[in-house]
Symmetry: C2
Subunit: 272 residues, 2 copies
Protein backbone atom coordinates (compact mmCIF):
# COMPACT_ATOMS: atom_id res chain seq x y z
CA UNK A 1 0.00 0.00 0.00
CA UNK A 2 1.25 3.46 -0.88
CA UNK A 3 1.15 5.59 2.25
CA UNK A 4 3.30 8.55 1.21
CA UNK A 5 2.52 11.42 -1.12
CA UNK A 6 6.23 11.50 -1.90
CA UNK A 7 5.81 8.28 -3.91
CA UNK A 8 7.02 9.12 -7.44
CA UNK A 9 4.21 7.24 -9.20
CA UNK A 10 1.60 9.14 -7.19
CA UNK A 11 3.31 12.46 -7.80
CA UNK A 12 3.37 11.72 -11.54
CA UNK A 13 -0.35 10.90 -11.52
CA UNK A 14 -1.22 14.10 -9.70
CA UNK A 15 0.66 16.01 -12.39
CA UNK A 16 -1.93 14.80 -14.92
CA UNK A 17 -4.05 17.69 -13.65
CA UNK A 18 -1.88 19.81 -15.93
CA UNK A 19 -2.61 19.86 -19.63
CA UNK A 20 1.03 19.82 -20.67
CA UNK A 21 1.61 16.67 -18.64
CA UNK A 22 -1.42 15.01 -20.24
CA UNK A 23 -0.15 15.99 -23.67
CA UNK A 24 3.37 14.74 -22.98
CA UNK A 25 2.19 11.37 -21.69
CA UNK A 26 -1.01 10.82 -23.69
CA UNK A 27 -2.64 9.77 -20.41
CA UNK A 28 -5.46 11.10 -18.25
CA UNK A 29 -6.72 10.62 -14.71
CA UNK A 30 -10.34 9.82 -13.99
CA UNK A 31 -11.97 9.33 -10.63
CA UNK A 32 -15.12 7.99 -9.05
CA UNK A 33 -17.31 4.91 -9.37
CA UNK A 34 -19.32 6.24 -12.26
CA UNK A 35 -16.47 7.33 -14.49
CA UNK A 36 -14.18 4.38 -13.79
CA UNK A 37 -17.16 2.09 -14.45
CA UNK A 38 -17.81 3.86 -17.75
CA UNK A 39 -14.13 3.52 -18.67
CA UNK A 40 -14.41 -0.28 -18.21
CA UNK A 41 -17.72 -0.43 -20.09
CA UNK A 42 -16.20 1.41 -23.04
CA UNK A 43 -13.01 -0.66 -23.01
CA UNK A 44 -10.72 2.27 -22.26
CA UNK A 45 -7.03 1.39 -22.24
CA UNK A 46 -6.01 1.35 -18.59
CA UNK A 47 -2.55 2.12 -17.31
CA UNK A 48 -3.55 1.37 -13.76
CA UNK A 49 -6.37 1.49 -11.25
CA UNK A 50 -5.96 3.27 -7.91
CA UNK A 51 -7.93 2.07 -4.92
CA UNK A 52 -8.14 3.19 -1.31
CA UNK A 53 -9.67 0.20 0.53
CA UNK A 54 -10.63 2.37 3.52
CA UNK A 55 -12.76 4.60 1.26
CA UNK A 56 -14.06 2.06 -1.25
CA UNK A 57 -17.17 0.70 0.39
CA UNK A 58 -19.56 -0.15 -2.41
CA UNK A 59 -20.02 -3.57 -3.94
CA UNK A 60 -19.95 -1.94 -7.37
CA UNK A 61 -16.53 -0.50 -6.57
CA UNK A 62 -15.26 -3.92 -5.56
CA UNK A 63 -16.63 -5.40 -8.78
CA UNK A 64 -14.59 -2.81 -10.70
CA UNK A 65 -11.43 -3.97 -8.94
CA UNK A 66 -12.33 -7.52 -9.93
CA UNK A 67 -12.58 -6.38 -13.56
CA UNK A 68 -9.15 -4.83 -13.29
CA UNK A 69 -7.76 -8.14 -12.01
CA UNK A 70 -9.43 -10.04 -14.87
CA UNK A 71 -7.99 -7.63 -17.46
CA UNK A 72 -4.52 -7.68 -15.88
CA UNK A 73 -4.69 -3.96 -15.13
CA UNK A 74 -2.21 -3.10 -12.35
CA UNK A 75 -3.94 -2.00 -9.13
CA UNK A 76 -2.20 0.36 -6.72
CA UNK A 77 -3.55 0.39 -3.20
CA UNK A 78 -3.39 3.79 -1.51
CA UNK A 79 -4.00 4.91 2.03
CA UNK A 80 -7.07 7.12 2.46
CA UNK A 81 -4.78 10.10 3.10
CA UNK A 82 -2.81 9.61 -0.12
CA UNK A 83 -5.97 9.02 -2.15
CA UNK A 84 -7.53 12.18 -0.74
CA UNK A 85 -4.38 14.15 -1.62
CA UNK A 86 -4.66 12.89 -5.19
CA UNK A 87 -8.40 13.35 -5.38
CA UNK A 88 -10.26 16.32 -6.77
CA UNK A 89 -13.48 15.50 -4.96
CA UNK A 90 -14.84 16.59 -1.61
CA UNK A 91 -15.89 13.05 -0.74
CA UNK A 92 -13.58 10.71 -2.64
CA UNK A 93 -15.11 7.31 -3.36
CA UNK A 94 -11.74 5.54 -3.20
CA UNK A 95 -11.38 4.50 -6.82
CA UNK A 96 -9.63 6.17 -9.73
CA UNK A 97 -7.78 5.18 -12.87
CA UNK A 98 -5.13 6.35 -15.28
CA UNK A 99 -6.05 5.65 -18.91
CA UNK A 100 -4.67 6.33 -22.35
CA UNK A 101 -6.32 9.15 -24.27
CA UNK A 102 -8.20 7.93 -27.33
CA UNK A 103 -8.42 10.26 -30.31
CA UNK A 104 -10.13 9.59 -33.62
CA UNK A 105 -8.37 10.93 -36.70
CA UNK A 106 -10.70 13.16 -38.68
CA UNK A 107 -10.32 10.86 -41.70
CA UNK A 108 -11.65 7.97 -39.62
CA UNK A 109 -14.77 9.91 -38.60
CA UNK A 110 -17.09 8.38 -41.14
CA UNK A 111 -20.52 10.04 -41.18
CA UNK A 112 -23.63 8.17 -42.28
CA UNK A 113 -27.31 9.07 -42.23
CA UNK A 114 -28.49 9.51 -38.66
CA UNK A 115 -25.06 10.71 -37.53
CA UNK A 116 -24.69 13.97 -35.66
CA UNK A 117 -21.39 15.59 -34.76
CA UNK A 118 -20.58 18.84 -32.97
CA UNK A 119 -17.52 20.87 -33.93
CA UNK A 120 -16.28 23.48 -31.48
CA UNK A 121 -13.98 26.34 -32.27
CA UNK A 122 -11.82 27.54 -29.41
CA UNK A 123 -14.15 26.42 -26.63
CA UNK A 124 -12.37 27.75 -23.55
CA UNK A 125 -14.22 26.40 -20.54
CA UNK A 126 -13.70 22.70 -19.71
CA UNK A 127 -17.07 22.61 -17.95
CA UNK A 128 -18.80 23.81 -21.12
CA UNK A 129 -16.97 21.22 -23.20
CA UNK A 130 -17.89 18.42 -20.80
CA UNK A 131 -21.54 19.56 -20.65
CA UNK A 132 -21.67 19.64 -24.45
CA UNK A 133 -20.29 16.08 -24.62
CA UNK A 134 -22.94 14.96 -22.11
CA UNK A 135 -25.76 16.53 -24.14
CA UNK A 136 -24.40 15.27 -27.46
CA UNK A 137 -24.26 11.76 -26.06
CA UNK A 138 -27.82 12.25 -24.78
CA UNK A 139 -29.12 12.86 -28.31
CA UNK A 140 -27.14 9.90 -29.67
CA UNK A 141 -24.37 12.03 -31.20
CA UNK A 142 -21.41 10.27 -32.75
CA UNK A 143 -18.48 12.51 -32.00
CA UNK A 144 -16.95 15.85 -31.32
CA UNK A 145 -14.44 17.78 -33.40
CA UNK A 146 -12.23 20.25 -31.54
CA UNK A 147 -10.86 22.98 -33.75
CA UNK A 148 -7.58 24.74 -33.12
CA UNK A 149 -7.36 26.32 -29.67
CA UNK A 150 -10.08 24.34 -27.94
CA UNK A 151 -9.66 23.22 -24.36
CA UNK A 152 -8.75 19.64 -23.49
CA UNK A 153 -11.57 17.05 -23.24
CA UNK A 154 -9.37 15.11 -20.81
CA UNK A 155 -9.18 18.09 -18.44
CA UNK A 156 -10.56 17.04 -15.04
CA UNK A 157 -13.32 19.70 -15.27
CA UNK A 158 -14.39 18.45 -18.70
CA UNK A 159 -14.30 14.83 -17.52
CA UNK A 160 -16.44 15.70 -14.53
CA UNK A 161 -19.03 17.62 -16.54
CA UNK A 162 -19.19 14.95 -19.25
CA UNK A 163 -20.36 12.37 -16.67
CA UNK A 164 -18.70 9.58 -18.63
CA UNK A 165 -20.12 10.62 -22.03
CA UNK A 166 -16.55 11.27 -23.09
CA UNK A 167 -16.11 7.50 -23.45
CA UNK A 168 -19.16 7.19 -25.67
CA UNK A 169 -18.08 9.72 -28.30
CA UNK A 170 -15.40 9.77 -30.95
CA UNK A 171 -13.14 12.74 -30.27
CA UNK A 172 -11.13 14.44 -33.00
CA UNK A 173 -8.96 17.50 -32.94
CA UNK A 174 -7.92 19.30 -36.05
CA UNK A 175 -6.97 22.58 -37.65
CA UNK A 176 -9.46 24.68 -39.55
CA UNK A 177 -7.58 23.91 -42.79
CA UNK A 178 -7.82 20.16 -42.26
CA UNK A 179 -11.49 20.49 -41.31
CA UNK A 180 -12.21 22.39 -44.55
CA UNK A 181 -10.42 19.67 -46.54
CA UNK A 182 -12.36 16.93 -44.77
CA UNK A 183 -15.65 18.68 -45.46
CA UNK A 184 -14.80 19.02 -49.18
CA UNK A 185 -13.74 15.43 -49.45
CA UNK A 186 -16.68 13.89 -47.61
CA UNK A 187 -19.33 16.40 -48.66
CA UNK A 188 -20.68 16.52 -45.10
CA UNK A 189 -22.94 19.49 -44.37
CA UNK A 190 -21.98 21.97 -41.67
CA UNK A 191 -24.54 24.18 -39.90
CA UNK A 192 -23.35 27.08 -37.75
CA UNK A 193 -25.17 29.28 -35.25
CA UNK A 194 -25.03 33.03 -34.82
CA UNK A 195 -27.13 35.76 -33.28
CA UNK A 196 -26.77 37.57 -36.63
CA UNK A 197 -28.29 34.82 -38.77
CA UNK A 198 -31.71 35.35 -40.30
CA UNK A 199 -32.78 31.69 -40.27
CA UNK A 200 -34.60 30.58 -37.14
CA UNK A 201 -33.05 27.43 -35.61
CA UNK A 202 -36.55 26.11 -34.90
CA UNK A 203 -38.06 24.33 -37.87
CA UNK A 204 -34.91 24.74 -39.97
CA UNK A 205 -34.47 21.79 -42.38
CA UNK A 206 -31.30 20.31 -40.89
CA UNK A 207 -29.26 18.06 -43.18
CA UNK A 208 -28.57 14.45 -42.21
CA UNK A 209 -25.81 13.62 -41.42
CA UNK A 210 -24.59 16.96 -40.19
CA UNK A 211 -21.95 18.77 -38.19
CA UNK A 212 -23.17 21.50 -35.84
CA UNK A 213 -20.41 24.11 -35.66
CA UNK A 214 -20.32 26.33 -32.58
CA UNK A 215 -18.00 29.30 -31.97
CA UNK A 216 -16.20 30.17 -28.78
CA UNK A 217 -17.82 31.56 -25.62
CA UNK A 218 -16.49 35.06 -26.21
CA UNK A 219 -16.29 35.47 -29.95
CA UNK A 220 -18.86 33.18 -31.51
CA UNK A 221 -18.05 32.07 -35.04
CA UNK A 222 -15.32 33.94 -36.87
CA UNK A 223 -15.81 35.05 -40.50
CA UNK A 224 -13.69 32.17 -41.80
CA UNK A 225 -15.88 29.68 -39.93
CA UNK A 226 -19.01 31.32 -41.31
CA UNK A 227 -17.76 30.87 -44.84
CA UNK A 228 -17.53 27.11 -44.56
CA UNK A 229 -21.10 26.69 -43.26
CA UNK A 230 -23.83 25.35 -45.50
CA UNK A 231 -26.35 27.16 -43.33
CA UNK A 232 -26.34 29.39 -40.26
CA UNK A 233 -29.21 29.53 -37.80
CA UNK A 234 -29.99 31.78 -34.88
CA UNK A 235 -31.71 31.08 -31.59
CA UNK A 236 -34.24 33.85 -30.96
CA UNK A 237 -34.14 35.69 -27.65
CA UNK A 238 -36.13 38.31 -25.85
CA UNK A 239 -35.33 39.94 -22.50
CA UNK A 240 -32.06 41.62 -21.70
CA UNK A 241 -29.70 38.70 -22.35
CA UNK A 242 -27.92 39.06 -25.67
CA UNK A 243 -26.58 35.54 -25.87
CA UNK A 244 -26.93 32.13 -24.27
CA UNK A 245 -24.31 30.11 -22.46
CA UNK A 246 -22.40 28.06 -25.07
CA UNK A 247 -23.43 24.66 -23.66
CA UNK A 248 -27.05 25.83 -23.47
CA UNK A 249 -27.08 27.15 -27.05
CA UNK A 250 -25.54 23.90 -28.28
CA UNK A 251 -28.14 21.86 -26.39
CA UNK A 252 -31.06 23.91 -27.70
CA UNK A 253 -30.00 23.28 -31.32
CA UNK A 254 -29.02 19.64 -30.73
CA UNK A 255 -32.45 18.90 -29.25
CA UNK A 256 -34.15 20.60 -32.19
CA UNK A 257 -32.20 18.37 -34.62
CA UNK A 258 -32.92 15.34 -32.47
CA UNK A 259 -36.64 16.16 -32.24
CA UNK A 260 -36.87 16.52 -36.01
CA UNK A 261 -35.12 13.21 -36.55
CA UNK A 262 -37.16 11.25 -34.04
CA UNK A 263 -40.37 12.80 -35.36
CA UNK A 264 -39.57 11.61 -38.87
CA UNK A 265 -38.46 8.24 -37.49
CA UNK A 266 -34.79 8.39 -38.45
CA UNK A 267 -33.59 7.81 -34.89
CA UNK A 268 -35.13 6.02 -31.97
CA UNK A 269 -36.37 8.41 -29.33
CA UNK A 270 -37.43 6.36 -26.34
CA UNK A 271 -37.36 7.77 -22.86
CA UNK A 272 -34.71 6.20 -20.69
Amino acid sequence: MITSTANPAIKAIRKLRERKERQATGLFYCEGLRIVGDAFDHKAEFECVLAAPELLQSEFGKSLLQKAVTLNVPIHELSAAVFTWLSQKDHPQGIAAVCKQTWTGLGALDLNPGDLVTALDAVADPGNLGTIMRTLDGVGGKGIILLDQSTDPFDPGAMRASMGSLFNLQISRTSLAEFVGWKKQTGVKVIGTSGEASEDYHGYPYPDPMVLLMGSERQGLSPEHFRLCDGVVSIPMVGSADSLNLAVATAVVLYEVYNQRRTDGSVRGGTR
Copy 2:
Protein backbone atom coordinates in the same frame (compact mmCIF):
# COMPACT_ATOMS: atom_id res chain seq x y z
CA MET B 1 -7.73 57.01 -3.35
CA ILE B 2 -7.66 53.78 -1.35
CA THR B 3 -4.21 52.25 -1.68
CA SER B 4 -4.23 49.68 1.10
CA THR B 5 -6.00 46.35 1.32
CA ALA B 6 -6.13 46.94 5.07
CA ASN B 7 -8.80 49.59 4.51
CA PRO B 8 -11.82 48.42 6.55
CA ALA B 9 -14.38 49.32 3.85
CA ILE B 10 -12.47 47.29 1.28
CA LYS B 11 -12.08 44.35 3.63
CA ALA B 12 -15.82 44.43 4.31
CA ILE B 13 -16.59 44.43 0.58
CA ARG B 14 -14.29 41.49 -0.06
CA LYS B 15 -16.17 39.58 2.63
CA LEU B 16 -19.28 39.74 0.44
CA ARG B 17 -17.80 36.73 -1.34
CA GLU B 18 -19.19 34.75 1.58
CA ARG B 19 -22.86 33.90 1.64
CA LYS B 20 -23.28 34.53 5.35
CA GLU B 21 -21.89 38.03 4.93
CA ARG B 22 -24.27 38.70 2.03
CA GLN B 23 -27.16 37.42 4.14
CA ALA B 24 -26.18 39.49 7.16
CA THR B 25 -25.86 42.73 5.15
CA GLY B 26 -28.42 42.20 2.37
CA LEU B 27 -25.75 43.45 -0.04
CA PHE B 28 -23.85 41.94 -2.95
CA TYR B 29 -20.75 42.76 -4.96
CA CYS B 30 -20.82 42.87 -8.74
CA GLU B 31 -17.96 43.59 -11.08
CA GLY B 32 -17.23 44.47 -14.66
CA LEU B 33 -18.53 46.91 -17.26
CA ARG B 34 -21.35 44.67 -18.37
CA ILE B 35 -22.82 43.84 -14.98
CA VAL B 36 -22.41 47.30 -13.45
CA GLY B 37 -24.01 48.74 -16.60
CA ASP B 38 -26.92 46.32 -16.24
CA ALA B 39 -27.28 47.28 -12.59
CA PHE B 40 -27.69 50.95 -13.62
CA ASP B 41 -30.08 50.04 -16.45
CA HIS B 42 -32.28 48.10 -14.07
CA LYS B 43 -32.17 50.77 -11.37
CA ALA B 44 -30.45 48.58 -8.79
CA GLU B 45 -30.03 50.22 -5.39
CA PHE B 46 -26.35 51.12 -5.16
CA GLU B 47 -24.40 51.35 -1.94
CA CYS B 48 -21.29 52.49 -3.76
CA VAL B 49 -19.30 52.21 -6.96
CA LEU B 50 -15.64 51.19 -6.92
CA ALA B 51 -13.34 52.44 -9.63
CA ALA B 52 -9.65 51.94 -10.37
CA PRO B 53 -8.77 54.82 -12.74
CA GLU B 54 -5.58 53.04 -13.88
CA LEU B 55 -7.64 50.05 -15.07
CA LEU B 56 -10.79 51.76 -16.27
CA GLN B 57 -10.01 52.69 -19.85
CA SER B 58 -13.28 52.46 -21.73
CA GLU B 59 -15.54 55.39 -22.49
CA PHE B 60 -18.48 53.24 -21.45
CA GLY B 61 -16.85 52.74 -18.04
CA LYS B 62 -16.40 56.47 -17.64
CA SER B 63 -20.04 57.05 -18.58
CA LEU B 64 -21.02 54.67 -15.77
CA LEU B 65 -19.06 56.79 -13.28
CA GLN B 66 -20.91 59.81 -14.59
CA LYS B 67 -24.21 58.03 -13.92
CA ALA B 68 -23.07 57.32 -10.36
CA VAL B 69 -22.31 61.03 -9.89
CA THR B 70 -25.74 61.99 -11.25
CA LEU B 71 -27.48 59.54 -8.92
CA ASN B 72 -25.41 60.62 -5.90
CA VAL B 73 -23.93 57.14 -5.54
CA PRO B 74 -20.66 57.33 -3.56
CA ILE B 75 -17.61 56.46 -5.67
CA HIS B 76 -14.50 55.00 -4.06
CA GLU B 77 -11.31 55.30 -6.05
CA LEU B 78 -8.96 52.35 -5.65
CA SER B 79 -5.40 51.76 -6.73
CA ALA B 80 -5.01 49.06 -9.38
CA ALA B 81 -3.39 46.81 -6.78
CA VAL B 82 -6.28 47.12 -4.32
CA PHE B 83 -8.87 46.66 -7.06
CA THR B 84 -7.11 43.53 -8.28
CA TRP B 85 -7.01 42.18 -4.74
CA LEU B 86 -10.76 42.70 -4.51
CA SER B 87 -11.47 41.41 -7.97
CA GLN B 88 -12.46 37.91 -8.94
CA LYS B 89 -11.42 38.31 -12.55
CA ASP B 90 -8.18 37.56 -14.36
CA HIS B 91 -8.28 40.89 -16.17
CA PRO B 92 -10.22 43.31 -13.99
CA GLN B 93 -11.88 46.13 -15.91
CA GLY B 94 -11.56 48.58 -13.04
CA ILE B 95 -15.21 49.01 -12.14
CA ALA B 96 -17.39 47.28 -9.56
CA ALA B 97 -20.31 48.07 -7.33
CA VAL B 98 -21.95 47.09 -4.09
CA CYS B 99 -25.74 46.93 -4.37
CA LYS B 100 -28.69 45.97 -2.21
CA GLN B 101 -30.20 42.56 -2.90
CA THR B 102 -33.71 42.79 -4.31
CA TRP B 103 -36.12 39.97 -3.50
CA THR B 104 -39.72 39.66 -4.60
CA GLY B 105 -42.11 38.19 -2.05
CA LEU B 106 -43.94 35.20 -3.49
CA GLY B 107 -47.27 36.95 -2.93
CA ALA B 108 -46.09 39.80 -5.15
CA LEU B 109 -45.21 37.45 -8.02
CA ASP B 110 -48.37 37.95 -9.99
CA LEU B 111 -48.61 35.63 -13.00
CA ASN B 112 -50.57 36.56 -16.10
CA PRO B 113 -50.95 34.90 -19.50
CA GLY B 114 -47.59 34.87 -21.27
CA ASP B 115 -45.68 34.66 -18.00
CA LEU B 116 -43.12 31.94 -17.44
CA VAL B 117 -41.37 31.26 -14.15
CA THR B 118 -38.81 28.64 -13.14
CA ALA B 119 -38.81 27.17 -9.65
CA LEU B 120 -35.68 25.38 -8.50
CA ASP B 121 -35.47 22.99 -5.60
CA ALA B 122 -32.09 22.79 -3.89
CA VAL B 123 -30.03 23.87 -6.90
CA ALA B 124 -26.50 23.53 -5.56
CA ASP B 125 -24.19 24.96 -8.20
CA PRO B 126 -24.11 28.78 -8.52
CA GLY B 127 -22.97 28.44 -12.15
CA ASN B 128 -26.04 26.35 -12.94
CA LEU B 129 -28.31 28.87 -11.21
CA GLY B 130 -26.74 31.77 -13.11
CA THR B 131 -26.96 29.93 -16.43
CA ILE B 132 -30.63 29.14 -15.78
CA MET B 133 -31.32 32.83 -15.05
CA ARG B 134 -29.57 33.78 -18.30
CA THR B 135 -31.65 31.31 -20.33
CA LEU B 136 -34.90 32.21 -18.59
CA ASP B 137 -34.28 35.87 -19.36
CA GLY B 138 -33.52 34.86 -22.96
CA VAL B 139 -36.99 33.37 -23.39
CA GLY B 140 -38.62 36.37 -21.74
CA GLY B 141 -39.20 34.66 -18.38
CA LYS B 142 -40.58 36.71 -15.53
CA GLY B 143 -38.91 35.32 -12.46
CA ILE B 144 -37.28 32.57 -10.54
CA ILE B 145 -38.45 30.90 -7.35
CA LEU B 146 -35.78 29.35 -5.15
CA LEU B 147 -37.10 26.62 -2.89
CA ASP B 148 -35.59 25.74 0.46
CA GLN B 149 -31.90 24.87 0.24
CA SER B 150 -31.09 26.51 -3.09
CA THR B 151 -27.81 28.30 -3.59
CA ASP B 152 -27.60 32.10 -3.53
CA PRO B 153 -28.37 34.01 -6.76
CA PHE B 154 -26.09 36.78 -5.48
CA ASP B 155 -23.14 34.38 -5.25
CA PRO B 156 -20.31 35.70 -7.47
CA GLY B 157 -20.40 32.52 -9.60
CA ALA B 158 -24.15 32.87 -10.16
CA MET B 159 -23.77 36.58 -10.94
CA ARG B 160 -21.05 35.83 -13.47
CA ALA B 161 -23.00 33.04 -15.20
CA SER B 162 -26.20 35.11 -15.28
CA MET B 163 -24.48 37.79 -17.40
CA GLY B 164 -26.68 40.48 -15.91
CA SER B 165 -29.96 38.57 -16.40
CA LEU B 166 -30.28 38.54 -12.61
CA PHE B 167 -31.35 42.18 -12.80
CA ASN B 168 -34.05 41.42 -15.34
CA LEU B 169 -35.87 38.76 -13.32
CA GLN B 170 -37.97 38.82 -10.20
CA ILE B 171 -36.32 36.58 -7.62
CA SER B 172 -38.24 34.89 -4.83
CA ARG B 173 -37.19 32.43 -2.20
CA THR B 174 -39.62 30.38 -0.25
CA SER B 175 -40.32 27.14 1.57
CA LEU B 176 -42.10 24.26 -0.07
CA ALA B 177 -45.06 24.81 2.26
CA GLU B 178 -45.41 28.46 1.25
CA PHE B 179 -45.03 27.52 -2.42
CA VAL B 180 -47.84 24.97 -2.12
CA GLY B 181 -50.05 27.59 -0.46
CA TRP B 182 -49.26 30.14 -3.19
CA LYS B 183 -50.09 27.61 -5.90
CA LYS B 184 -53.45 26.80 -4.27
CA GLN B 185 -54.32 30.42 -3.83
CA THR B 186 -53.37 31.61 -7.31
CA GLY B 187 -54.25 28.43 -9.22
CA VAL B 188 -51.03 28.68 -11.21
CA LYS B 189 -50.03 25.47 -13.00
CA VAL B 190 -46.75 23.76 -12.19
CA ILE B 191 -44.98 21.42 -14.61
CA GLY B 192 -42.09 19.27 -13.40
CA THR B 193 -39.51 17.20 -15.25
CA SER B 194 -38.28 13.72 -14.52
CA GLY B 195 -36.55 10.92 -16.38
CA GLU B 196 -39.31 8.66 -15.04
CA ALA B 197 -42.22 10.59 -16.54
CA SER B 198 -44.12 9.06 -19.44
CA GLU B 199 -45.05 12.36 -21.12
CA ASP B 200 -42.57 13.59 -23.72
CA TYR B 201 -41.54 17.22 -23.09
CA HIS B 202 -41.69 17.87 -26.84
CA GLY B 203 -45.18 18.71 -28.01
CA TYR B 204 -46.61 18.63 -24.47
CA PRO B 205 -49.50 21.12 -24.09
CA TYR B 206 -47.88 23.50 -21.60
CA PRO B 207 -50.23 25.70 -19.59
CA ASP B 208 -49.96 29.47 -19.75
CA PRO B 209 -48.94 31.02 -17.41
CA MET B 210 -46.82 28.29 -15.88
CA VAL B 211 -44.07 27.48 -13.42
CA LEU B 212 -41.43 25.01 -14.59
CA LEU B 213 -40.24 23.14 -11.50
CA MET B 214 -36.77 21.56 -11.64
CA GLY B 215 -35.19 19.32 -9.02
CA SER B 216 -31.63 19.43 -7.76
CA GLU B 217 -28.56 18.32 -9.71
CA ARG B 218 -28.17 15.12 -7.71
CA GLN B 219 -31.64 14.11 -6.68
CA GLY B 220 -34.05 15.49 -9.24
CA LEU B 221 -37.55 16.10 -7.93
CA SER B 222 -38.49 14.57 -4.60
CA PRO B 223 -41.83 12.74 -4.15
CA GLU B 224 -43.34 15.73 -2.36
CA HIS B 225 -42.44 17.99 -5.28
CA PHE B 226 -43.93 15.50 -7.73
CA ARG B 227 -47.20 15.57 -5.88
CA LEU B 228 -47.71 19.28 -6.39
CA CYS B 229 -47.12 19.15 -10.17
CA ASP B 230 -50.03 19.44 -12.59
CA GLY B 231 -47.95 17.55 -15.14
CA VAL B 232 -44.51 15.96 -15.35
CA VAL B 233 -42.58 15.64 -18.58
CA SER B 234 -39.39 13.83 -19.52
CA ILE B 235 -36.65 14.72 -21.96
CA PRO B 236 -35.86 11.63 -24.02
CA MET B 237 -32.25 10.49 -24.26
CA VAL B 238 -30.31 7.85 -26.10
CA GLY B 239 -26.59 7.06 -25.72
CA SER B 240 -24.91 6.28 -22.42
CA ALA B 241 -25.78 9.48 -20.55
CA ASP B 242 -28.62 8.94 -18.10
CA SER B 243 -29.34 12.56 -17.39
CA LEU B 244 -28.60 16.06 -18.65
CA ASN B 245 -26.88 18.89 -16.85
CA LEU B 246 -29.53 20.80 -14.86
CA ALA B 247 -29.06 24.08 -16.72
CA VAL B 248 -29.22 22.22 -20.06
CA ALA B 249 -32.38 20.30 -19.13
CA THR B 250 -34.02 23.53 -17.97
CA ALA B 251 -33.05 25.27 -21.22
CA VAL B 252 -34.36 22.45 -23.40
CA VAL B 253 -37.80 22.64 -21.76
CA LEU B 254 -37.85 26.45 -21.59
CA TYR B 255 -37.14 26.68 -25.32
CA GLU B 256 -39.89 24.16 -26.05
CA VAL B 257 -42.39 26.28 -24.10
CA TYR B 258 -41.09 29.43 -25.77
CA ASN B 259 -41.30 27.87 -29.25
CA GLN B 260 -44.89 26.80 -28.63
CA ARG B 261 -45.84 30.25 -27.42
CA ARG B 262 -44.18 32.15 -30.26
CA THR B 263 -45.64 29.71 -32.81
CA ASP B 264 -49.15 30.39 -31.53
CA GLY B 265 -48.37 34.09 -31.34
CA SER B 266 -48.69 34.56 -27.59
CA VAL B 267 -45.19 36.04 -27.25
CA ARG B 268 -43.04 37.97 -29.63
CA GLY B 269 -40.20 35.86 -30.95
CA GLY B 270 -37.94 38.16 -32.90
CA THR B 271 -34.26 37.43 -33.34
CA ARG B 272 -32.04 39.89 -31.57
